[in-house]
Amino acid sequence: MGELRLMKGNEAIAEAAIRAGCDGYFGYPITPQSEVMEYLMAEKPYESTGMVVLQAESEVASINMLYGGAGTGKIVMTSSSSPGISLMQEGISYLAGTQLPALIVNIVRGGPGLGTIQPSQADYNQAVKGGGHGDYHMIVYAPASVQEMADFVATGFKAAFKYRTPVMILSDGAIGQMMEKVYLSDPVPRRTEEEIISQCPWATTGRPPTRDHNIITSLDLDPAGQERLNLVLQEKYRKIEENEVMYEEIECEDAEYIFTAFGLSARICQKAIELAREKGINVGLFRPITLFPFPKKEIRELGRKVKGIMVVEMNAGQMIEDVRLSVDSDIPIEHYGRFGGIIPTPDEIVNVLENKIIGD
């Protein structure tokens, strides 16, 4: 059944979390994502579903609340924007090292430093390549619409528990702030204590006489043991790469050239496709939806069919490295980016395509 509503991206995330049976949200205000917690506080899910909503004293605290909350086996999330996500990196690394499920939303703004509150995609590397210390990955979803902001909350929770891993929704200030219609699915009830205890035998639920005490830690002072943990993590990441890749191809069937872009940039590229096709240039869009796992195979195959790829990002060229690593054909792969909160226009994109790629 569900329900159709007009909502901001940030609000859609909050509402989707309540409906997905989320048990706890811990956050700290930062533009352009504060509406997530504002919406939750206004909705008072702690009275309706029993979901805990808590404003922490910092992002360091909120990520460590998330870490403690994830240890209980409950469904927990946080959200922030770039500077706040930087503060969370130690905690994210602990979540990965202890193999705990949790959802982290990054509504990216321009940086470095305090930067700007305008949208950006400059946290791609931080999200996809680890960000914190040690060898780890998160599963990273890049929504391109308010609908996907809502959808990827439940998708993210599911993947987090399936693989016992932190999951990130990497969006940006524009998608967080813009209003679109969004279909919200019916609420699912929060899991009962009995369900959590049976589904999460590893969790800190209190030790009954029937089992050993559960210990959640990433510490192993024995190098052989620590290497074993790392091998387990790497095997998990390979499984994620096999099973969880998501992407979208738009007008790629007859395309001679391809835009590759995620999130907001992909939305803009769709308009650029229209403009280019009016000019007689057959161009399509390849949109990675999961940034880790990156759709390597799919872009490699496309690369064998087209004459050139243009990677459009609101950063100085981050995802392009993954595109270049994936594509094995000898075609031009160029980048176009705007930074600091400036959003590229479709005209600019088509111009660059003509000059940098087709002109080559």
Partner: protein
Amino acid sequence: MEEKFARPEIRKPENIVYKRTDLLVDRPLSYCPGCGHGVVHRLLMEVIEEKDIVSKTIGISPVGCSVLAYDFLDVDMQGAAHGRAPALATAITRLWPDRYVFTYQGDGDLAAIGTAETIHACNRGENFTIIFINNGIYGMTGGQMAPTTLPGMRSSTSPYGRDVDIMGHPLKITELVANLPGTYYVTRQSVQTPGAVRKTKKALRKAFDNQDLNKGVSLVEVVSNCNSGWKMTPVQSNIWMEENMFPYYPLGDIKVEGTLVEK
């Protein structure tokens, strides 16, 4: 175990007047001989056992010498990042409101890197117990200066003694949090004599009993020795602690049932 006792015929349940609590895992502690950490571990587990709340208890270990506390305490445990135990405990008590939650933290963990988490958890009045081992030094990393290191006290990063003009003053964080409305019980104890051990156990029991009332944080500070970090024998370290630490960190209750104790 058995073979150590020459006369198994007297080892009958009815003859046992004292034994190690079963909640203390039977393995060698990682602490230096003479260190106070182990005594506090035992008292903590005795309280959990006597209250019969194992199946409802969740502990948070810190980063510090007691980082491996989860190997010794036979309750569900999660290891925090350095200083963040109160943030974990906050989430756990809120998500499992009927559980008994405790953090076990050193002075570097609680009063330096984790100061913000400590103060805000105390100020929010979270319903958990903080066990705070104040040994005036960073034991684990090799005896560096802690926020609680005494004026003039030597450490590996204050090799000529703590110069308060350069290095600042020792932080009495326990008195500080006692003044916050969210703390319900704040006390400072020690474990260097049998009498002190008994008092600390009573304090721990009170802290866990308080969790039944849901009135806010109970914080039990234990002023403890670090014979290795202080470069003394265990006996010397206890004498030094009594002569130097106790005057700066006076023992006794600081706040009881939400009210500051008049001194």
